[in-house]
């Protein structure tokens, strides 16, 4: 091709990429919610888990501890933080142990007589009022006077304080200077975020808001704010993983570039060979943007990793070019094999699509599109741009020597049998469970953070994240009624120490029926006034002092019962709103449990109750979900394997040749599995994904080694290309294997081992070498 034509092609290609990049950057919306990376739930528990993971009341709770100053200063900071965060739409609840009457909406204040259980056991008559007023007189002569003086005319029976007591978390920490304190002199707070707990981005915004509010407090210098809770952890893990992946990525990129420069001694070849990969990534993302409303962050991270296979296509082109040969001609010769390689990698990655998980489907779309683009641009665009004069790698002296060494290796027929036997034995005798179902084991937290979490959780009486009591009914009112019905049974369970506390929705809002019952017990204006007058006989209260009280009682009598929707709109109602969720035609009440000591007894009680109440074990449901997930992936992989055999047999026009390609690949894959199992590694989803990537790479090695050209120079070029591919893969994934984060380590170790095994086995099992 002419020089000008080449330049035009390059400019056009780059311009297309730039346009695509711009379009993608405009339309790409990245989601970080881990749920879109989980499979569709099948059991009711799994369905609830999927809705509640990250959104359940427990997982949205952040635990805060302020330390480092005197108790008094810490209490002031705690109050200041609460004042700053309350009313912020990012937080549905902010608690620090002080009860603020102002948080009960003034218009809702009359409802205190319907919310408080006082009237269930007590008539509002002269005797009751007299007793209460007598107590208020004592209060007025006590140190509590200034506390109650303002409240008295409107609320002589102190219903507001009774509600405050009812609504404080039942096992709350010690209160000093008006706020919660831990035994370690930290002021404690509980913040419930609106954002789901396992959406690291949304959580990071919420956490940022808390830190910013804290830093804006006067006198915060010298005090430290520590956070804990699922949301904080998801942010932390996300940031850690990202930081380490980026750090490792930078180093391995430099290494990769150096390796290619060393292999081809040409900067322009290096830069040009990056074009197919860049195109693959951009078109892949464009396809995602076109097909899905949001692209998951994990899809992109994994997707780029899996696209690493495509780097092999330009490398093959560069290595296989003969001196003086036209690049286009060289690619044309290579194309049938390259196409087989591309097709087989696509089949392997397409298996992700069959898994039915949204995130994995995205992964499949991204990688398959990317591989096709990388392959076809390597075939139809790249050769026209490559420099005309290149060095034939076949003449390098070290390569000749290496090829000779490789060819001289003994290749006894029993080697595959021996490896297969060893693999089976290792798999059989490996200790410990085969599968790792606990996803959190892959994103572990520093031990001191977990200890702090446990300590704060205990001090704050914060609910278990693992268990949830689920009340189901056809309406939100129905849930409240059900919650009221089981209150006595729950109290009995608490008395038996089965569980420390259960936070039921009816604790915050009684059902309309109960509210109406309480309304009927409220006296009419005249009757109340009469009772009050009688009670006030001989008491020093000024006449007419309690008119606001009489008005409030009348308002409570006449108002329609407080609905969950209306209550939820007030600051105090947020807690309830988080506990009531609507699903299809059903309403669910989510009651959190603290200190569940006897799971079996709890389950037995739940069973007696029939279907309306269920104990949801989030960990159990999550693990069964992971197992389902894995089963789907394995099935899809099985189908892919069958398809692979067919495609390769068809492409090579020979079952025997297909066997020579597939046997080393299969053997190496199982060998990786066996070695990891022997090393005590439990296999997780991430290992599976990594195994598939390694298998894709191994398949390529085997395909090229199997090719019998009868030309020693071409065999040397094959070795050169494969060596460059193996070394670059080892470089990138070997670095990941050193990571301290298990997810990255799982991928790095598996791919590194896989690449090494695939390479060795495909050389040792290559058929024609024996004929030499």
């Amino acid at each position: 091709m002419q020089r000008r034509g080449r330049l035009l092609l390059l400019v056009l290609w780059l311009a297309t990429l730039a346009a695509l990049g711009w379009m993608v950057s405009q339309r790409l919306r990245i989601s970080t919610d881990l749920r879109s990376f989980m499979p569709a739930p099948t059991t009711p528990d799994q369905r609830l888990l999927m809705e509640q993971v990250g959104e359940g009341p427990g997982s949205r709770l952040l635990l805060l501890a302020i330390a480092g100053k005197s108790d008094e200063q810490l209490a002031t900071l705690s109050q200041g933080l609460v004042a700053a965060l309350r009313g912020d739409p990012r937080y549905s609840q902010v608690l620090n142990g002080s009860f603020d009457i102002a948080s009960l909406d003034d218009r809702l204040l009359p409802y205190r007589y319907l919310l408080s259980p006082t009237l269930d056991t007590q008539r509002m008559d002269a005797a009751f009022l007299r007793d209460e007023l007598q107590q208020r007189l004592e209060d007025l002569s006590s140190p509590a006077a200034s506390l109650l003086k303002g409240l008295l005319p409107r609320d002589p029976t102190l219903e507001v304080l009774k509600l405050a007591e009812r609504w404080t978390p039942p096992t709350s920490p010690e209160v000093r200077n008006g706020v919660w304190f831990s035994a370690q002199h930290e002021a404690l707070l509980l913040v419930q975020t609106q954002a789901p707990g396992f959406d690291p981005d949304a959580q990071s915004i919420a956490i940022d808001g808390i830190r910013r509010a804290f830093d804006a407090l006067p006198g915060h210098q010298g005090a430290t704010l520590a956070l804990s809770g699922p949301g904080y952890f998801s942010v932390l893990v996300n940031a850690q993983t990202r930081a380490q992946a980026e750090w490792i990525g930078r180093i391995s990129t430099v290494g990769f570039v150096l390796l290619l420069l060393l292999a081809y001694r040409s900067v322009s070849s290096l830069l040009l060979s990056a074009l197919p990969i860049a195109s693959a990534a951009l078109v892949g993302i464009a396809a995602l943007v076109w097909l899905f409303p949001e692209v998951h962050g994990i899809t992109l991270a994994f997707g780029f990793t899996l696209l690493g296979v495509a780097q092999e296509y330009p490398i093959r082109v560069l290595s296989h070019r003969r001196a003086g040969e036209d690049a286009v001609q060289s690619v044309r010769d290579l194309w049938p094999l390259l196409l087989t390689a591309i097709a087989s990698a696509c089949i392997a990655y397409a298996a992700f699509y069959a898994s039915g998980v949204n995130g994995l489907r995205q992964l499949a779309v991204f990688t398959v599109t990317g591989l096709l683009v990388a392959g076809f641009s390597t075939r139809y665009l790249l050769p026209y741009l490559l420099p005309e004069r290149v060095r034939d790698v076949a003449d390098m002296r070290w390569l000749v020597a290496t090829r000779r060494f490789v060819d001289a290796l003994p290749r006894p027929r029993w080697i595959p049998l021996l490896v297969a036997l060893a693999t089976v034995l290792m798999l059989v005798f490996a200790q410990g469970p085969f599968w790792q179902n606990d996803l959190s084991a892959l994103t572990p937290l520093p031990r001191d953070l977990l200890q702090r979490d446990a300590r704060l959780r205990e001090a704050l009486g914060a609910p278990d994240v693992r268990y949830l009591l689920v009340l189901a009914s056809s309406s939100d009112e129905g849930v409240l009624e059900l919650s009221e019905r089981i209150e006595p049974a729950i109290a009995a369970l608490v008395a038996r120490h089965v569980v420390d506390t259960v936070e039921l929705p009816s604790r915050y809002l009684p059902s309309a029926a109960v509210q109406r019952e309480r309304q009927q017990k409220l006296p009419a204006r005249d009757a109340l006034q009469q009772a009050l007058d009688e009670a006030l006989q001989g008491m020093p209260f000024k006449p007419g002092l309690f008119a606001p009280f009489v008005d409030d009682v009348q308002r409570a009598r006449e108002s329609p019962p407080l609905t969950p929707a209306r209550f939820a709109a007030s600051p105090l109602g947020q807690r309830l709103a988080a506990m009531l969720v609507q699903r299809d035609d059903q309403w669910l009440g989510l009651a959190t449990l603290s200190g569940l000591h006897d799971v079996a007894a709890m389950q037995a009680w739940v069973k007696e109750n029939g279907g309306a109440v269920r104990l949801l074990d989030l960990k159990d449901a999550a693990e069964s979900l992971v197992a389902d997930y894995r089963a789907r992936i394995l099935h899809a992989l099985l189908a892919a394997a069958v398809l692979l055999v067919l495609v390769i047999s068809f492409a090579l026009r020979s079952v025997r040749r297909a066997w020579h390609v597939l046997a080393p690949m299969t053997l190496a894959t199982f060998l990786v599995l066996a070695v990891e199992r022997m090393a005590g590694v439990e296999i997780s989803l991430f290992h599976l994904v990594a195994l598939i990537l390694a298998a894709g790479l191994g398949l390529h090695y085997a395909l090229f080694f199997e090719r019998d050209t009868g030309d020693a120079a071409e065999q040397r070029r094959t070795l050169h290309a494969t060596l460059v591919c193996v070394l670059s893969a080892l470089l990138v994934f070997g670095m990941l294997a050193w990571s301290s984060i298990p997810v990255l380590r799982a991928i790095g170790l598996t791919v590194s081992l896989g690449v090494a095994f695939h390479f060795c086995l495909s050389i040792l099992m290559a058929p024609h070498a024996r004929k030499d």
Binding site: P143, A144, K149, L152, R176, K542
Partner: protein
């Protein structure tokens, strides 16, 4: 500013001789100190806007050392309030104890600040918490007028006046910002609480009528 205000207020309110300088106040406060636990009888009359008549209670005040204070009421109903670690615990016969933060009971905070400083003879602490005005009525009788320095406390309690004779405090008068007033007769004087007290009669009693 607060000192100035306190001073002005005092010169307007007190029909007393010229204010003494801070040094004599310090000497006086130091002379009031006694070892913990220190107990004294008290009788208190509260004049509240909510009520037609004053509320009268009597019992014993005790400084238990440190920041721990106990106020025991024997009459008309038994009640014990104790302060420790910034928390107030209130116990009445036959009822569950009530707890609240000292922050929410400014009167108590002021009582703690002034009492502990006076009984501990700790003039430094007293000066930290209050602007002090010291007046001497005759050779032995004196009045300390304390104005809280903390603006949040000042919002509830405008000043506290302590009358005494020699090294014995006799009276404590707490004037709240909303007009309510509490007068405590201390020590021997506690027995002299009238059945139906008036503000004027009690102030006269404190000044040594």
């Amino acid at each position: 500013m607060l000192v100035f205000l306190g001073g002005t207020m005092l010169s307007l309110c007190a029909n007393a001789s010229a204010p003494e300088d801070a040094a004599t106040a310090r000497v006086l406060v130091n002379s009031l100190g006694r070892p913990a636990p220190a107990r004294t009888a008290f009788a208190e009359a509260r004049f509240l806007k909510l009520l037609d008549q004053p509320l009268v209670v009597s019992g014993e005040l005790a400084w238990l050392g440190g920041d721990r204070l106990e106020r025991r009421v024997d009459h008309p109903n038994r009640e014990v309030s104790s302060i420790a670690d910034g928390e107030v615990t209130q116990q009445r016969e036959g009822r569950p104890p009530r707890r609240f933060s000292l922050k929410r009971a400014p009167q108590l905070q002021i009582m703690l600040d002034s009492f502990v400083a006076l009984l501990g003879g700790d003039s430094e602490r007293l000066e930290q918490a209050f602007a002090i005005q010291h007046t001497v009525n005759d050779t032995k009788r004196w009045t300390l007028t304390l104005t809280p320095r903390d603006p949040t406390l000042l919002r509830t309690v405008s000043r506290i006046e302590i009358d005494g004779q020699g090294n014995e405090p006799r009276c404590m008068r707490m004037q709240e910002t909303d007009g309510d007033l509490a007068i405590d007769l201390l020590g021997e004087l506690a027995a002299s609480m009238p059945v139906t007290p008036t503000r004027e009669a009690l102030v006269a009693l404190c000044h040594g009528g």
